[in-house]
Amino acid sequence: MDTRRSVIWGERIAGGVITVGGLMVIVAVFGIMVFLIRVVLPLMAGGELQGNVRYQLDTQQDVIWVNGDEFQTLGLAVAAEGRVITYHVPTGTEISRAQFDFGGAEVTAVAGTLGRDRVAFGFDDGTVRFAELGFDTETTARRNLPSGLQQLDARDRVLDGRVFTEVGTGDFRTLSSVVELGEAEQISDLPIIAVDYRVGGTRERPTIAFATVDALNIVRVSRSRIQVNMMTGAETVTTTTTELPPLALGAGVNVTSILLSGNADRAIVGTDDGFVHRYDLRNMDAPQLAETRRVADDGIAVTAMTFLSGEESLVVGGEDGSLSVFFRLQTGTPDTTDGRELIRSREHAPMPSAVVDLSEAQRQKEFVAVDAEGNVHVHHSTSDQVLFELARSGDVTTSSRAMIFPRSNGVMLVSQGGEVEAWQYTQRHPEVTLRVLFGRIWYEGYAEPTFVWQSTAGTDLAEPKYSLIPLIFGTIKAASYAMLFAAPIALMAAVYTSEFVDRRVRATVKPMMEMMESLPTVVLGFVAALVLAPLVEEWIGAVLLGFFALPTGLMLGAFLWQMLPVPVALKYDGFPKFVLMAAMIFVSAFVAYNMGTTLENFLFQGDFKRWTTGQFGTGTPFMFLILLPLSYLTVSWSFKRTLGHHWRALIGDRDRAQAGRLDILRWLALLTTAIGLSYAVASLLTLLGYDPRGGFVDSYQQRNALVVGFVMAFAVIPNIYTLAEDALNAVPGHLRAASLACGATPWQTGMWVVLPTAASGVFSAIMMGMGRAVGETMIVVMAAGNTPIMEWNIFSGLRTLSANIAIELPEAVKDGTNYRVLFLAALTLFIMTFVINTLAELIRQRFRKRAFQL
């Protein structure tokens, strides 16, 4: 009889679906990995040059200032005698033209704000004028589009000085230039040779500050306050000008540039002998020349200077092409009037020849440097990369003005003769390199290179800090403290369950531990942070004591048990003994609770938390506590090695109760010796000058690694326990039977037969627990304080990779740098756990095979 066709087809379909479905698991794991890698990879991708244009503007005179809008649509060039040309950046078509009336004076200095739309001109007659050279952006709906538009290129159309660009929504972005010149202000009788200009305050009440240097090297700082009359709308400008203390310059030395900070609290003057002079203007009534510092090597002139956005870093370009970055750091030095000094913190790849122009990006720590040979290099300062190496074409000897477009996606350069060169590029994540992620970086405002994670800050101007090291450190710290608690408890409990209790006890205990495994970690985290953390803080003395009281109590119980006559001990062995152990735990906890304050008074002068800050006392008491278990182990081990033999001979002949009495005496003697030894070693360490405070003990925070470690152990214990118990249980019964038959006690059988056989399985259980601890999120988010600091202090908080993702990813912009770095954090976690789990699984598979062979 033939098989029905439907059955054959059903068979084939089922087989195919199930095989494909089964293999989907592999696809899922590798799919996750590949997807994470795909998101992360663009972080490492470099920028891409998209094209460049070059054309000549009809400026006739030398170009002194240039600006471009953020869409790279319009450019503005100002020529020396006041002609302002607005042009279309991609094609060079002139859009509109204006003429500034400088009143016959000649421009001798020019400077602008960070946004480049507010410009100050200094003239040879000692006056200063301000101009607005910006762009106006509007949106025009499609139906309101005027007629008579001229096509400029594939994208843009023009009409009457306005450029229309279609955007994604179907409407048109309309751009036009805003060109206005203000009144002249007389600052000096001499020509102005350098000027800088800052606009601060709010949009409604702007404050204007500018600094000038005249031909006699006299530095002046002026501040203008604009008040708008609410009734008339008229603006009143009041300007106060302060002359700063004179610069002590040598003969023939000239000022090359001046920089003013945004809120006008410092000014920096560069001179052509390689010095910078820093003024402290925080008190405008008594300005001070705070510091004079050589920033270039001997005989090398400072040829260009600029602040990076945020004004924390000063970039100095030298005659020899060097590019260095200086931070003003609080060092407490007596050499300057305000205890701060300019410190050379970064050295960027030098330009091939003298730096002639530096211009900073508006929203990133980027700058463009132009050298005398026409090389145009775009640098990123934080990540210390040369992003693009461009070169001018044409006559490179003429001077030029360069700028970075506001979105950091292009550079425009106008030479003196009016020749424009513009480059357009894309660069996705210039602030991230492997060195930024995993190395030490000297960040703005820091005293030295460090690992810092601080991805977001209040303003755009702050430097994002993307070091994963503090997070990896936090992850390892949390996991290791958790394992410190979890591994011993879980393993000992597992051994006890599998080797020493009744089958019925095991049948109730094991599901209970499995239940514990399924407790939601959000609940554990909540209890850790809102219940446990305040309790531990309040009762820190009792908690510390508890760590010693618990083992001591159990030991005491054991030695007392040994004193029981054999029949009694046998009768109550098993469950009653287990209840007694639990009771012993309660007793020790009660003792710790009551004696905690006494211990704190006795060892830490009554206030442990203050002791940790290092304000008083020595490190002895804490080291004594830490060394106590260690010295007990040492003492009992050496007793066993030297006298153990004789001791066994001594008590071996007596009956058990008597032997037990002797043994408890031995134990008490050992304990006393251990206490003495521990105290002696701790004192010795103190004498040698060692103090744990500042290391693994430091000032106390409520949400700390101790609490996290403890609660995370609570989450990890069931994992390790069940897996280890399974492994121990898988050891074949005939091994135990053989061992017991040879006369070994259950204890000896457990320790020397079962445990070594199951060792690899137990080890893999610990690894799996470790994997879980590494990835645990909610407990850490809630109870760890989330400060990304790097210290082993058990009483301080931490931030792990997982917590960091949970906190920052919901707010991260898709495909932004932070988004991708957080994906990298996830990938790091994935790889860490992947390695741990795969190893554990391989070990386990091997163990299984071996266990079957036995």
Binding site: T3, G15, V25, A28, V509, F526, W667, M782, A806, E841
Partner: protein, 587 residues
């Protein structure tokens, strides 16, 4: 095999024997009944091991007991105490918790000598109590610590009332007056209870009108707007089809808006009426607050309650908790949306995880040849189980929400762009993410269940001429079904308790709408949702006053734990029963 310790007699170890033998050789032969080589028994180590186990059990039990105690006592009405302090301040509040604390130096300085001596005798430690003084709108704070040494006198006057308000949280004080239908009335408890209940009905009526009826109109108008936009996008702005659609849509919107105005008038009328029923409450210091009676969710004379009144309040609070929406930034009211979100998400997750998990287990047990590939699959399963849950969240956000959801939006919901429909976290993506996370649980459990199906049954089926798939379909799977169910329940328990990945893929602190409602298409898989676990995190850590939210957190925790423990206990029981059944199920 487990060795029962009852048979073991302290015997000497091998080393002990050797020592004894050596001694015997010199001292001549002697017969002993037993030796006391204590180190062979390892009693101290045994106690350490057993202690570890006991500690684990104590921790679990203590933990559960603490949650249960705090959770179950939260809703029990407690008396309002009027506390007079030594400095003359009088305050009224409910004692919530207390305990000893270390008195600060600056506080000690301000005390008189006897008080200071008393504290110093006690090692610088004093007792204090945290009072819920409530009245946040007047005091700017809900709680106050009072140290025992500050208290001059504490009484429980019977005329204090405990008001639970719709906004501003709890009010504690006396009733100064009652206005019923614009007339001032004397306080009569029966009248008050009746009127309050009537006022609540009015409140709920207004709410229903606003949320259900007006909500429906808003929903329709929004949909109409999107339909117009879709027509415009499809046919072009100036096309006749689009213009027809727009005109038609505008007409419909106008109709809806007429209806909206009618409803709004109704609401205003009710509001007007509602304003005529008021209550004047007076706090302990004498300041009065005058609110609509409908703003009082529950009120009771806290110090004048019989045991049945208390039980009534206790039960009514529980009922509110499981059946109402949250108020006061989630710190009061109920958690119905969170329960609903948790259950809906978990069930949806099971829909995804069940086929995937069962198919993989079938592959591993029935189809694949044991070898390299299955070893790789097993390693993968293990890795899926071991990868931190937050990584799944990251993957879910990046792949499901942004990549898949973004594509769906572009293909099917272009009219709503740039607002995402599926291109953000939502219940669908959350359940898919959790399905990925819980699939190993199902695989392992199903595999166990399949392995437990006796070989003889399969062979019997095959021998009768059934094909492999027929055998699986009609013999193996039915037999393994309870085991598979166990796996699914365990997966649900795991999924219901997981919070970290959900924070990335669609859980919110307050969802404006449930994922399932009465509007077409009834199941809105793109919506974000509330979740019990996230509720705990949110109330405990992100609300203005975590102390005020703490009781709520405990109760929510209790609910979540009860849910999970029940599921787990069921699964474990089924499993144990199965094991027993199959242990002698071979035939």
């Amino acid at each position: 095999m487990t060795v029962s310790t009852e048979q073991d007699i302290p015997a000497s170890g091998a080393a002990g024997l050797a020592a004894v033998a050596a001694r015997e050789a010199t001292a001549g032969r002697r017969v002993r009944r037993f030796s006391s080589d204590l180190s062979a028994v390892g009693e101290p180590a045994l106690w350490a091991f057993g202690g570890a186990l006991a500690l684990g059990i104590i921790l679990v039990a203590g933990f559960l007991a603490m949650i249960a105690w705090n959770g179950f006592t939260t809703f029990w009405p407690k008396p309002v105490e009027q506390v007079e302090l030594r400095d003359g301040t009088v305050l009224a509040g409910v004692a919530t918790r207390g305990g000893p604390y270390r008195v600060g130096e600056d506080v000690l300085q301000r005390l008189d000598d006897t008080q200071r001596a008393e504290i110093e005798d006690n090692n610088g430690i004093a007792n204090r109590t945290l009072y819920q003084t409530a009245n946040f709108d007047l005091y700017g704070d809900d709680f106050r610590w009072i140290s025992d040494f500050e208290v001059a006198q504490s009484t429980t006057p019977p005329d204090y009332w405990y008001f639970e308000r719709q906004v501003w949280g709890v009010f504690i004080g006396r009733i100064a007056g009652l206005t019923i239908d614009g007339e001032s009335r004397t306080l009569d408890r029966a009248l008050l209870a009746r009127e309050q209940s009537a006022a609540r009905d009015r409140f709920n009526q207004i709410r229903r009108l606003e949320q259900r009826d007006i909500g429906r109109i808003n929903f329709q108008i929004e949909r109409e707007r999107l339909a117009q936009r879709r027509a415009v996008l499809r046919h072009g702005e100036d096309s006749p089809e689009a213009q027809a659609a727009v005109a038609e849509g505008q007409a419909r919107i106008a109709e809806w808006q007429d209806e909206f105005r009618v409803l709004q008038a109704q609401v205003n009328e009710l509001r007007e009426l509602d304003r005529r029923y008021r209550i004047q409450m007076q706090e302990v210091g004498g300041r009065e607050v005058d609110v609509e009676l409908s703003q009082i969710v529950r009120l009771f004379p806290a110090n004048d309650l019989g045991i049945f009144d208390k039980i009534g309040i206790y039960l009514s609070r529980w009922w509110e908790f499981v059946s109402a929406e949250p108020r006061e930034a989630n710190t009061q009211g109920g958690v119905l949306p969170a329960i609903f979100g948790t259950v809906a998400m978990t069930l949806l997750m099971v829909v995804f995880v069940a086929p995937f998990g069962v198919i993989t287990a079938l592959y591993l047990r029935e189809y694949a040849k044991q070898g390299r590939v299955t070893s790789l699959v097993r390693i993968s399963v293990n890795n899926l189980a071991g990868v931190p849950s937050i990584v799944y969240g990251v993957f879910g956000l990046g792949f499901f929400a942004y990549t898949m959801g973004g594509t769906i939006d572009q293909l099917f919901y272009p009219e709503n762009l740039p607002n995402p429909t599926f291109g953000k976290g939502g219940i669908l993506w959350a359940s898919l993410t959790l399905a990925l996370l819980t699939v190993p649980v199902v695989i392992v459990a199903t595999e166990e269940a399949l392995a437990a199906v006796p070989r003889s049954m399969r062979e019997g089926s095959l021998a009768c001429g059934a094909s492999k798939w027929q055998t699986i379909r009609y013999v193996v799977l039915p037999k393994a079904l309870p085991g598979i169910m166990t796996g699914l329940i365990l997966a649900m328990a795991r999924g219901a308790g997981e919070v970290a990945p959900l924070m990335l893929v669609g859980v919110v602190k307050l969802a404006p709408a449930l994922p399932i409602d009465g509007f077409y298409p009834f199941i809105h898989l793109d919506r974000s949702f509330m979740h019990l676990g996230f509720h705990i995190f949110d109330v405990g850590f992100q609300s203005r006053n975590s102390e005020a939210g703490k009781p709520m957190v405990f109760v929510t925790t209790l609910l979540l734990l009860a849910l999970i423990v029940t599921m787990n206990a069921t699964a474990i029981t089924i499993r144990n029963r199965l094991k027993r059944k199959y242990a002698d199920g071979q035939f």
